[in-house]
Every structure is written in C-alpha cells, then in structure tokens.
C-alpha cells in the first residue's frame, strides 16, 4: 500500500517542521537584536521577512530529506508530539520577545 510507505515521511516532516520552527524563532529574535543580520536579510532577499520565508522554505525540505534517509525508530505519535511542543515553544518565544521588546525590557 502506498500509504504505509508514508510512515518515514510523517516522522521526517514532523521533525523538519520542528527544526524549521526553531530556526525561525532563533532567526527572528536574532534579526531584531543584531542589526547587521537584519540588514543582510534585507540586502540579500529584498525584505527581511522574505529572507526568513526563503530560508524556512529552503531548510524544511533539506532537513525533511535528511531525517527521511536516517533509519529512525521514533514512534510516529511521539514525533508529532515533539513537533507540537517545539512549535508551542517557538511561538511563545517569538510572541514573548516582541512583548518584552515593546515593554523595553529587551
């Protein structure tokens, strides 16, 4: 069955999404704190937001294929839970950073 062959992809895409979430959170916060990084994103990709989008779109398939090639025994449900937790932490980090930023704490 075609669907049974999807198992490694379900796992690798979950881990690729988690990795992309971490990269985005780090990149977004770093670009606000390091003006040179934000300038590089603007100069390279025309706009810093486009730069973040392009880097995420580039990283996602690379990490996905890398995890697909690895023989990982991680359960599918566990990989989805890991992804969900990483996404929650990434979103809270991004929102928390901008909240601290407007409060002039960072």
């Amino acid at each position: 069955m075609m669907y049974e062959k999807l198992a490694p992809w379900v796992r690798s895409v979950a881990l690729a999404t988690a990795s992309t979430s971490i990269m985005l959170a780090v990149l977004i916060i770093s670009a606000e704190e390091i003006p040179a990084l934000k300038s590089w994103l603007k100069e390279t990709f025309y706009h810093h937001w486009l730069g973040k989008s392009v880097l995420a779109l580039g990283l996602f398939p690379i990490v996905g294929i890398t995890f697909r090639l690895k023989r990982d025994a991680l359960q599918l449900s566990t990989s989805i839970i890991i992804e969900a937790i990483v996404v929650i932490v990434s979103v809270c980090s991004i929102a928390g950073f901008f909240l601290l930023h407007i409060l002039k704490i960072v």
Binding site: Y3, W49, S53, A84, H101
Partner: protein, 148 residues
C-alpha cells in the same frame, strides 16, 4: 491602494480564514474514534494549499505596500502597539503554519490505511495548536486593520 493589491489582500484574508476553518473541521473529525480519514486528509491538504496561497498573496502586499503606506499610519495613530506587537508577532508566527499544515495533512493521509489511535490523538493535538495559532493570527489581523 491599487485594485491588484486590494484583490491580493482579499485573497490573503479569505484563503487564510478558510484554511483555519478547515483545520477546525479536521480537528472535530480527529476527535471521533473512527473518523473518515479520506475526507479528513482531503480537507487537510486543501488547508495546506490555502495557507500557501495566503502566504504568497500576503508577501506581495506586505513587501510592496504595508511597510510604506500602512505601517507609518499605525505608528502615528492611537494604537501603535497594533504594529509593534500584534503585526510583528503575526507576520512571524504565520511562517510556521504552512509547515505544520503539511505535517497534519501527511499524518491524516497515513491514517487512511493505518488507523493508529495514538497517532490520531497526537495529530488532533497538533491540529489544535495549528488552529490556535491560526485564530491568533487572524485576530491580530483584525486588530491591525482596525487600527488604521
């Protein structure tokens, strides 16, 4: 605003809202013990397509118009926090959504032939997270639009 930009903004909002609604449908079905996975996976893949449509249309509007014409008006208005917190957060956390949507769609497609109860529950949890992010992004969009 040109007609093209207005059309892109409308497509961005509509496709995003419909995709969020589709994730709600996916979640409601995944909460059942024996969902119709053929239907659920089709809805989940449609949400993926709509999130990418919303992303591309918003990119053109955001890069060519928002920064120069909308952002200065918000910052000069009564609620600059609409940009400094809500828009900044919304534009960035949105970037995670299409990838999460792909993961949900793949998991529901796998479930069509492999009814795994644990995977169904964990995918329901992930869909709930995606739905929460989507609703937050949409609500922030309403706030940003209302502050001009």
């Amino acid at each position: 605003m040109t007609t093209t930009l207005a059309a892109l903004l409308i497509i961005h909002v509509l496709s995003g809202v419909v995709a969020i609604g589709m994730h709600n449908v996916v979640l409601m079905h995944l909460l059942k013990k024996a969902p119709n996975y053929v239907f659920v996976s089709r809805v989940a893949w449609s949400a993926v397509a709509l999130f990418f449509l919303s992303w591309t249309t918003s990119a053109y509007y955001y890069v060519t118009y928002y920064g120069s014409a909308v952002k200065p008006r918000i910052l000069a208005g009564a609620t600059p926090v609409a940009h400094t917190f809500f828009m900044e957060t919304k534009e960035h956390i949105f970037l995670l959504l299409p990838f999460v949507a792909i993961s949900i769609a793949l998991a529901t497609t796998y479930l069509r032939a492999n009814a795994d109860g644990r995977l169904r529950k964990s995918t329901a949890f992930l869909t709930f997270i995606a739905l929460t992010i989507g609703i937050t992004v949409a609500a922030s969009g309403i706030l940003v639009s209302g502050s001009i």
